[in-house]
Symmetry: C2
Subunit: 444 residues, 2 copies
């Protein structure tokens, strides 16, 4: 995570790595999350929240370093009640697998859920490293089988979601690959250690291609073949690949990749077709991916890394349940993306209050009248702050402007007696007298 971005939006927090927002930023984040929910729900994904806490054995079954897991302990607990078997989740996929296995008799398959919640990683406290961060996941799971169209769907859904939250015209590419194809190509090149070759390809973006080719040669690929493979991967031209006459796993993977790309486009309005691209250099580190894999880069914020990643997994629940529950999912790295998005308009200048109108208190003896004014406005559906008093009128209005309110309402004793108010537009600084009766209409 880029340190400067985090600094830009002044994330605070009691403890390093557990960031918090100031009110205007939190409002912007909430609005962005609300847009994400609307997009996810348009595809029928249903909200899920799992408990923050899982059993340690569930978490460690999926091969994260134990050091990065936060276990729980009850302070000053007596013997036998320390809850030593509990820990905080480090992603949303393992809790999903556990939830689905546990509730499979209640759930209807295919099961689509979205989940927008924080996850926790035990990191050394340092700037720019989150120890708590939010993810926004969608997954679709089948029972026994799950056709390839599901892969296309999560890709299309994520594409529309990113288009809805990124600034208009922002270039972003979902780079799509297939593990079977990658494995097949590495085998075709003659590698003796396929997992090591894939790990090497996964690192290519960091270390560059000359070093990657060296790495591929170390997995027993002949030097010229390693060069060929590197060129093939970088070109990512599926038509040329077809001409190679691949067979077996590689051929299967290529067909899958072509089908997924083509179906995903059918699910999208034409304006978004260009946001999908086959990219054979994408490998994804995690072991559980078995087919489609995806990473996403945002042109103006490349330093964020992939902001939306995921793929197909056939066997995630194998360690937890008996029946196979294949799935495919994508995860938006929300905290990471927000750190950048909140520096962009309109989010960078979000008002710090949901209200548009401030009813000021210039005379505490008239509080009952001010309360009546506020009640009248709220009754008309206008979000209204009522100043509780205890501050000079000038300060009340100055603070109202600071929080981004649009109107201030003032009333003195004469106004109260006449059932009227003074209405001030805080943007134009124009002022007018209004009868309380017609005030809501003047503001709507």
């Amino acid at each position: 995570m880029n340190t400067e971005l985090m600094e830009t939006i002044k994330l605070t927090g009691a403890v390093g790595g557990f960031p918090e927002f100031l009110p205007a930023q939190q409002r912007a984040a909430d609005e962005i999350i609300s847009i994400i929910k609307t997009q996810y729900e348009s595809y029928g994904y249903t909200p899920l929240e799992t408990a923050t806490v899982e059993k340690i054995e569930t978490l460690l079954a999926k091969g994260i370093a134990a050091k990065e897991v936060y276990g729980l302990r009850r302070l000053n607990a007596e013997d036998g009640e320390g809850d030593k078997e509990l820990a905080l989740r480090f992603d949303l996929t393992v809790p999903l697998a556990r939830y689905v296995v546990q509730n499979q008799n209640e759930l209807v398959f295919p099961f689509r859920r979205y989940q927008i919640q924080p996850v926790f990683r035990g990191e050394r406290p340092q700037k720019g490293r989150y120890r708590q961060f939010h993810q926004a996941d969608i997954d679709i799971l089948g029972q026994e089988t799950l056709p390839l169209s599901a892969d296309a769907e999560v890709i299309a859904c994520a594409t529309q979601t990113l288009a809805a939250i990124l600034p208009k015209g922002e270039e972003f590419i979902l780079r799509i690959n297939n593990r079977k194809l990658l494995q097949g190509l590495v085998a075709w090149a003659g590698s003796a250690d396929i997992p090591a070759a894939i790990k090497t390809i996964d690192n290519a973006e960091k270390v560059g291609w000359p070093k990657t080719i060296e790495g591929l040669i170390q997995t027993a690929i002949a030097a010229p073949k390693a060069e060929d493979l590197a060129a093939l991967l970088q070109a990512s031209n599926l038509e040329n690949l077809t001409k190679l006459g691949l067979s077996g796993e590689a051929e299967e993977g290529l067909t899958e990749l072509q089908t997924v790309l083509s179906l995903a486009k059918t699910l999208l309005p034409p304006a978004l077709h260009g946001n999908l691209k086959a990219d054979l250099t994408i490998a994804r580190g995690l072991d559980y991916y078995t087919g489609t894999v995806v990473e996403t880069v945002v042109a103006s914020a490349k330093e964020l890394g992939s902001v939306c990643s995921g793929g197909r997994y056939e066997n995630l629940t194998a360690s937890l349940g008996k029946k196979a529950i294949p799935g495919v999912g994508l995860s938006i790295g929300l905290s990471r993306l927000l750190a950048w998005l909140l520096t962009q308009e309109p989010w960078a200048s979000m008002p710090a209050t949901p209200a548009t109108v401030l009813v000021t208190c210039q005379d505490e003896n008239l509080m009952a009248y001010y309360a009546k004014v506020a009640q009248t406005l709220r009754q008309a559906g206008i979000k209204t702050e009522l100043h509780p008093g205890g501050q000079a009128l000038g300060t009340q209005i100055k603070n109202g402007v600071k929080r981004g309110l649009t109107f201030a309402i003032m009333a003195n004793d004469d106004d109260a007696k006449a059932n009227r108010v003074q209405l001030k537009n805080l943007a134009t600084a124009t002022q007018s007298e209004q009868a309380l009766e017609t005030l809501p209409t003047a503001l709507l």
Copy 2:
């Protein structure tokens, strides 16, 4: 927490006391939370989320039993990186106090925030006891001073919020008291140990009044005076109280209580005035309350205890910062309330998917056509599930009915060629043929 209620809605969860919802329940819970947010925001309360994790010293400064606090530890951590100083929050008020002290130069006062997040309590694992539960808090904080109108505002806001989420016509009462009045009355009765007397009154609802009177006598109140006091508290008649000619703290508290009640009513539509009631038997256990205190009982769900509680605190930030930041707030016990609400209509029969239309897949070769149909519907703003295939058509439709979908769409090869679909209303089981072009209109 009532065990049976928790059982009724079949809360699951990997670990006892960390409950989770099934999809239909989660959707209902989300809708209820969305109504709460709308109400809170109509008063200008701004969303806040604080980090799940706090420093242990911050949490323990406010006097909760350490045994109930979940500390963190990194599994297999090396020396010096165990993060031993961290723990999970047990309420939302202490993190608010910490956040406000920490960000007081960035925040504008009076500061209104709402916060809907889970809190954690280390409890012995047992049925009906939550170890993770959600609260929905509002608080308003001032700098140096915060007039009494703020107390009236949080009460009015909570009243409108409860009216919006409880079943129509459900009787609920916000029982309002004032700590100064209670202390003054206990002193007036001659108690030698005011905190003990208040604790006794706080227990009256559990143990009954004869026992409470005995308890009051033990704080050195003369027997006849203890009877008088008990009668006064139970009657809760503020006009009769005025006739007593109280002075000092008692008089101040009485005036505050009357002002708060009267202002809160001005902030509410007349239909809700009857939901506010002075109740001198309310004491609230927590030490930090200094004035207004509130508890709320729902007539049909008395067994839940108080579903909305809080009050005024003058000195909550004293241990954390130098400046006084007085505040007043109320907290809806969301998990507790949901356990009951989700058994009520309309929440008890929420569909398990946000989509209204299911595009079935009766021929996987036609998936591109089905994808086009789904895209057309979503483009028109209709939430649509696309079946990924791999299931018999009958099962697809049966499962769609189970999840509460309204329409199913079918198409065979002839339909695809003619760019049309078969539209089935799942409620009436009527079916019609529709051109793809006019399908969205038929569904809107």
